[in-house]
């Protein structure tokens, strides 16, 4: 089996953004949020010091899932909802590769919800980017599991009656070791978040708010818009108090076990503001996912980042542990515990 090892070169090559641009025409609607995400991913990868041939992008089906075609890396556009399974198999098989999953809110949370959860609970060392536009883009505008109740769409002309699913909560219920949220239009913050996700060992789960200009334009307007986003998005920073607002004059504080918003003069924040802790138990991050507009700002950034053993490492470790001299003798294996000789 040792005939195909894939050593990682010692001196990682100098890569540029354009090294990750494939020769395929990018086919999203003009103005689609997917473009910005693609650009940030293409910008982030060269900074990681990983050879280009080690990256693999795996997706399901949806507008977002066309992503791999536009990356000049290895890529696999699979079937609807199942991308995490292909990624899990590939990473178990080839731990030397750097595996990314790109999925949508329909792909990842409607048909594919279970695979998502199971990848996360295994803490397999892959990076999952979920482009959440709260709509089915590719099939032309049905409501999705993340659409707000009451969403009027082709399949819900009187408004949807399902309660939405929250990607981050779902990930946290499976005790995700890395959970983050970013917004397509805030490209610097997005790039920084992607970099953190890439560096995390274990399943990194990133929800990216993505504007579908054709079927769901403006769902994230508050946090998308340059003019308003600082007032509506709370940038989480490990060890720092939770302050937001263009003028940094709002904060979050716990009262009677519940979060509340406090206003203050810029620079004079109260001492008891909630301090972000990425390393806390999943309960803390889960509580943060309940900070929602209109009452609260939308938290973005890294909600949780803790180290735990990965499925692929544990699998390899068991194999290492099982390997003993002579324990892989095929003849002996075939002979079994009991056998007999038939003479001539």
């Amino acid at each position: 089996m040792a005939d195909r090892t894939f050593p990682t070169p010692n001196t990682p090559p100098e890569l540029k953004r354009k090294d990750f641009v494939s020769d395929q025409m990018v086919r999203w609607c003009p103005g689609c949020g997917d473009f910005a995400i693609l650009a940030q991913v293409q910008k982030t990868l060269p900074t990681l010091g990983i050879p280009k041939e080690k990256f693999v992008f795996i997706s399901g089906i949806g507008c977002s899932s066309r992503f791999p075609y536009y990356m000049d890396t290895y890529g696999f556009h699979t079937i609807h909802g199942r991308a995490p399974t292909f990624a899990t198999g590939l990473k178990c098989a080839r731990p030397d590769l750097n595996v990314w999953v790109v999925t949508g809110d329909g792909d990842g949370l409607s048909i594919g919800g279970n695979h998502l959860i199971h990848a996360i609970r295994r803490n397999i060392d892959i990076n999952i980017l979920l482009f959440n536009n709260r709509i089915y883009g590719l099939t032309k505008g049905q409501y999705s599991p993340t659409s707000d109740r009451g969403k009027i769409s082709k399949s819900s002309p009187m408004g949807s009656i399902d309660r939405p699913i929250y990607p981050l909560r779902t990930a946290l219920a499976a005790e995700a070791t890395f959970v983050a949220r970013a917004v397509d239009s805030d490209v610097q913050h997005l790039a920084a978040t992607l970099e953190r996700a890439a560096q995390h060992k274990g399943t990194s789960f990133v929800e990216i708010y993505q504007n579908c200009i054709v079927f769901n334009d403006g769902v994230f307007e508050d946090v998308e818009n340059r003019a308003t986003r600082d007032d509506f998005a709370l940038k989480l920073e490990h060890g720092k108090p939770m302050i937001y607002g263009k003028d940094r004059d709002h904060g979050i504080r716990m009262k009677d076990g519940k979060p509340e918003v406090v206003n203050f003069k810029p620079g004079e924040e109260p001492k008891d503001l909630l301090v972000h802790n990425e390393k806390a138990g999943a309960e803390f991050a889960y509580m943060l996912t309940h900070l929602e507009p209109p009452e609260f700002p939308t938290p973005v950034g890294v909600f949780r980042s803790v180290e735990e053993a990965t499925y692929n490492d544990l699998l390899d470790a068991q194999i290492e542990q099982a390997k003993k001299p002579g324990a892989n003798d095929l003849s002996k294996l075939l002979a079994g515990a009991e056998n007999w000789e038939v003479a001539k």
Binding site: M1, D3, R4, S22, Q24, P51, K52, E53, K54, V56, F57, I58, I61, P68, Y69, M71, T73, Y74, G75, F76, H77, T78, I79, R82, T85, F86, A87, T88, G89, L90, K91, C92, A93, R94, D96, L97, N114, H115, H118, L315, Q318, I319, Q321, A322, K323, A327, N328, L330, S331, L333, L334, A335, G336, E338, N339, W340, E341, V342, A343, K344
Partner: protein, 625 residues
């Protein structure tokens, strides 16, 4: 064997009767150790040099209350001084540990056969549980059989009296008592079982002692009480020399996969979701981590196949396993492997359908699902082993075809093959042919075309992630010829559909021609596939020995068909296709070769009997159909 024990002969009159073959069935509660007893008897018989074939019959998946009909477990062994290919049509001897076991099995016994019962289990309470009105040992219902009544529980208890064991513990040893009786009757040696007991229970010396005593006690009981008129001798069979072991189809499949790993130099990756009767392949492989085998228990069947395809993309020997309903769930993903032309082996250990059906019973009703159970024109290879032992070579072949032609291959085993066993001659590992599978792009990086094909096999390059300069993307949308880019052009689509079909046809070059059992021309040709091999071959040989004009061929490859199939079919007046379904191979052969093949269909969750096939052959020869 004797009639009711009442009229047993005197010891001195006992003699040894030589017989050619016998079929014995053990039956009792799951808790009675029936499978274990059968397994031990099998080993002893194999060591005695007989040829043999066995078939366990498990109760439906769920545990049933003790003593009831649904809880009855069975194990049948057929052994002989000649070639044995089936576990026997009808047992001549039935060992029944309780009334339910008697009730469930007696109708299968040959008239005049022997039934050995544990009389201690024949209580009013057990009759009720088995739904029996009167004691069958006392009414007339067994008058056509020879009944040997043995108070096994009591006798075992006596033998273990001073060991200080509870009644339940003692009762658990009675199967060794029964085994002792049978060893005596057929002149088998106790040695192998004694060794096995010592090894198996080495941590609990009392149990070693108890089982040892029970075995000896049964043996002595048979000898001294003279319950049999004579003992039987089944001579050694003319078996090819070599080292043998007993093996089930599922074991052979697992071992074959490990062999394929070694032969191909590609690490084995097996991702699956448990399902009866395929789970044992996972259980076997999970233990083989020392060989570097990676197994993953996935969250469902779709994940199982998805992970395997992911691993295949990564360059491993990727396999997933399941049974009928699971194959249905994997269909969409198998289609993706067809489109992306990645090697993938899918094991389907068929069981009774439709739907959940009869999970523990055997059937061959997934052939058309394997062929056509996907959207679009989506051809895959289909390989079907004929015997438990053959699963070893057949799965190696399936792996080879999948890797060489870069295609999914479905391996159609079934419950009978998977759980049934036969003696298996150990192959010489060094003589197994290595596979030559390359990941070399064979093209310069600047102009790499992931779908540019090998001219002979039509296989596309299997270039692995991590290979510098050959970054490329694959997926489920139609591919442009050569480049593999997404393409919706009309002509390209048709050409690609035809290429994918042609690639599977090209596999014919790697498939051996058929060998005809019997004359190459004649009146009737029996065409089989999969696990019906033993019954068909035995029936055809019998008919041939009676001078009948019948021959047989057996298909181990169904997609593509062996190249000579059409010609062989033409040489016979009638074609008979026995299948454990309602005519699935039949439909493929009729449509392809336009021969008016006659089907013999059995959908009972049970393998064919030799007699069923032989009768049908005769009916055809006599022009009755």
């Amino acid at each position: 064997m004797p009639a009711k024990t009442k009229d047993v002969k005197k010891k001195e009159e006992l003699d040894v009767e030589e017989i050619e073959a016998v079929t014995i069935r053990f039956a009792g509660d799951s808790g009675d150790g029936v499978q274990l007893t059968g397994g031990q008897f099998t080993t002893a018989t194999a060591m005695a040099g007989n040829d043999l074939s066995t078939l366990p019959d498990f109760p439906a998946e769920i545990r049933a209350p003790v003593g009831t009909l649904p809880g009855v477990s069975g194990f049948q062994i057929h052994f002989s001084s000649r070639d044995v290919l089936t576990p026997g049509d009808q047992p001549e001897v039935l060992v029944a540990f309780n009334p339910a076991a008697l009730k469930a099995n007696i109708k299968d016994l040959v008239k005049g056969g022997t039934v050995i019962v544990n009389t201690d289990a024949f209580t009013a309470q057990n009759f009720k549980k088995a739904g029996i009105a009167t004691n069958p040992l006392e009414d007339d219902s067994l008058s056509e059989y020879r009944v040997v009544e043995v108070p096994m529980t009591m006798l075992t208890g006596k033998a273990l009296e001073d060991l200080g064991m509870s009644a339940t513990q003692v009762s658990r040893c009675k199967n060794f008592f029964a085994l002792g009786i049978m060893y005596w009757a057929y002149g088998r040696s106790l040695d192998a079982t004694l060794t096995w007991i010592k090894k198996k229970f080495k941590k609990v010396p009392t149990i070693v002692e108890a089982n040892t005593r029970a075995l000896h006690a049964g043996h002595a009981y048979a000898e001294t009480t003279e319950i049999f008129q004579h003992t039987y001798s089944v001579k050694k069979a003319p078996i090819a020399p070599g080292k043998y072991r007993n093996i089930t189809g599922n074991e052979a499949t697992a071992l074959g996969l490990v062999a394929a790993q070694q032969l191909s130099g590609h690490q084995l990756f097996y991702s699956t979701y448990p399902i009866t009767p395929a789970s044992d392949v996972l259980h076997a492989l999970a233990k083989l981590k020392s060989f570097g085998v990676k197994t993953v228990q996935a969250e469902d069947e779709i994940a199982g196949v998805g992970m395997a395809i992911g691993a295949s993309f990564g360059g491993l020997l990727a396999v997933t396993g399941t049974s009928g309903p699971g194959l249905a769930l994997k269909a969409e993903a198998i289609g993706l492997a067809v489109m992306t032309e990645l090697p993938l082996v899918i094991i389907n250990v068929q069981r009774g359908g439709p739907s959940t059906g009869l999970p523990t019973k055997t059937e061959q009703s997934d052939l058309l699902q394997a062929m056509y159970g996907r959207n679009g024109e989506s051809p895959v290879g289909v390989v079907a082993p004929a015997t438990p032992g053959e699963c070893f070579t057949a799965i190696i072949k399936a792996c080879r075809l999948a890797m060489k032609y870069r295609t999914p291959v479905i391996f159609l085993s079934d419950g009978y093959l998977g759980n049934g066993s036969e003696p298996w001659r150990l192959p010489n590992v060094d003589s197994l042919p290595k596979f030559d599978i390359s990941h070399d792009p064979g093209q310069p990086a600047e102009d790499f075309k992931p779908y540019k094909r090998d001219e002979k096999t039509l296989a596309r390059p299997w270039v692995l992630p991590g290979t510098k300069g050959y970054e490329h993307r694959i997926g489920g949308l139609e591919k442009q010829k050569d480049t593999g880019n997404v393409n919706y052009e009309p002509d390209n689509h048709e050409e690609m559909c035809r290429i994918r079909a042609e690639k599977i046809e090209r596999m014919t070059a790697d498939i051996p021609k058929l060998s005809v059992l019997g004359e190459p021309k004649g009146k009737v040709l029996v065409v089989g596939w999969g696990s019906t091999y033993g019954a068909i071959t035995t029936a055809v040989k019998k008919a041939q020995s009676e001078g009948k004009s019948v021959s047989a061929i057996h298909l181990r490859y169904i997609n593509p068909f062996p190249s000579d199939l059409g010609d062989i079919l033409k040489n016979f007046d009638r074609v008979l296709i026995p299948e454990m379904n309602l005519g699935q191979l039949n439909m493929l052969i009729r449509s392809r070769y336009l021969v008016d093949a006659v089907g013999l269909h059995k959908v009972k969750g049970q393998p064919f009997k030799v007699s069923e096939i032989k009768e049908k052959i005769e009916a055809l020869l006599e022009g009755k159909e």
